[in-house]
């Protein structure tokens, strides 16, 4: 399974001081881009350019946490549409489907967990490289994108 992102170039024009951006802005307006998600056979990518990637990383981490305990289902709601991603834990696997593209992706839960953590870690690294002042932002720091288990 591939889980990756592409940061858009134009979202940061509205944020002069990334050190003071608040949590709601971080989860709705900052670091927008595309989500790449799928396999060689199935593409569930959301290439709309406006996905708030910090929010996506945090939400998927919460979903992985919820599914780590037992079988169940979790739904990710995109921030600006009715589109959803569905995550179903079946045994030691996770089945991912979407409301906007056909097909499903099945992946071992351990791989899913690893990909989710790696997505957040890479995003954190890239954002801090592009905007070092985020390192001074208390709300951003509190979200702990690069947390370790």
């Amino acid at each position: 399974m591939r889980m990756d992102f592409r940061l858009s170039e134009d979202w940061n024009q509205d944020f002069a001081d990334m050190a003071t951006v608040e949590e709601t802005d971080l989860r709705y307006y900052v670091a927008q881009g595309d989500v790449v998600l799928g396999t060689d056979q199935t593409d569930l990518s959301a290439d709309w350019g406006w996905i708030p990637l910090v929010d996506f990383a945090l939400a998927l981490r919460e979903i992985a946490d919820a599914l780590s305990e037992s079988e169940g289902s979790e739904t990710f709601e995109f921030t600006e549409s009715e589109a959803t991603l569905q995550f179903d834990r079946v045994g030691d696997k996770v089945v991912i489907t979407s409301s906007y593209r056909p097909g499903e992706v099945t992946v071992p839960f351990s791989d899913f967990r690893k990909q989710v953590d790696e997505f957040a870690r890479r995003l954190d690294k890239e954002l801090l490289q592009r905007h070092p002042e985020l390192g001074l932002n208390p709300d951003y720091q509190r979200l702990k994108l690069s947390r370790s288990h």
Binding site: R27, Y28, W48, W50
Partner: protein
């Protein structure tokens, strides 16, 4: 009795000025519209309005986002948001996002979904500060 009424006047008059003046001051000073929900004020800032226009206006090129019907105006958007927040079904925002979501079915098309189908419902996200974060048809 007469003395008590006389003393009350200096307190009542400024209070009336503040009460009636506040509703005007917010939109004029900060460019915001304020509506009164049951025990909650919802504010549509210029920032949020611009965000909604960029994502969800009929002529917005944004992919994968619900769109309002042609003819939407700032005023009619405010009215729809007010109605959705006053009468819609609230729920907690999802997966750790701060704030609340209100959803309301207008029973008539108000725009289109991401696949172009008619949409009659409005989803409004309200921050913990009572500000509109986003609003779109679905």
């Amino acid at each position: 009795m007469r003395a008590w009424q006389f003393q009350k006047v200096p307190f009542v008059f400024p209070a009336l000025i503040l009460f009636f003046g506040a509703g005007c001051m917010i939109p004029i000073a900060y460019g915001q519209g304020v509506t009164q929900n049951v025990g909650q004020q919802v504010v549509l800032t210029r920032w949020a309005l611009r965000h909604i226009q960029q994502r969800h206006w009929p002529d917005s090129p944004a992919q994968g986002a619900g769109k309002f019907a042609v003819g939407i105006t700032e005023e009619s958007l405010r009215e729809m948001i007010n109605e959705a927040v006053a009468n819609g079904r609230p729920r907690e925002n999802t997966h750790g996002r701060p704030g609340e979501i209100y959803e309301y079915d207008f029973g008539r098309p108000i725009g289109t979904t991401i696949n172009g189908s008619p949409a009659s419902r409005l989803r409004v996200v309200i921050s913990t500060r009572g500000q509109v974060v986003t609003a779109f048809p679905f």
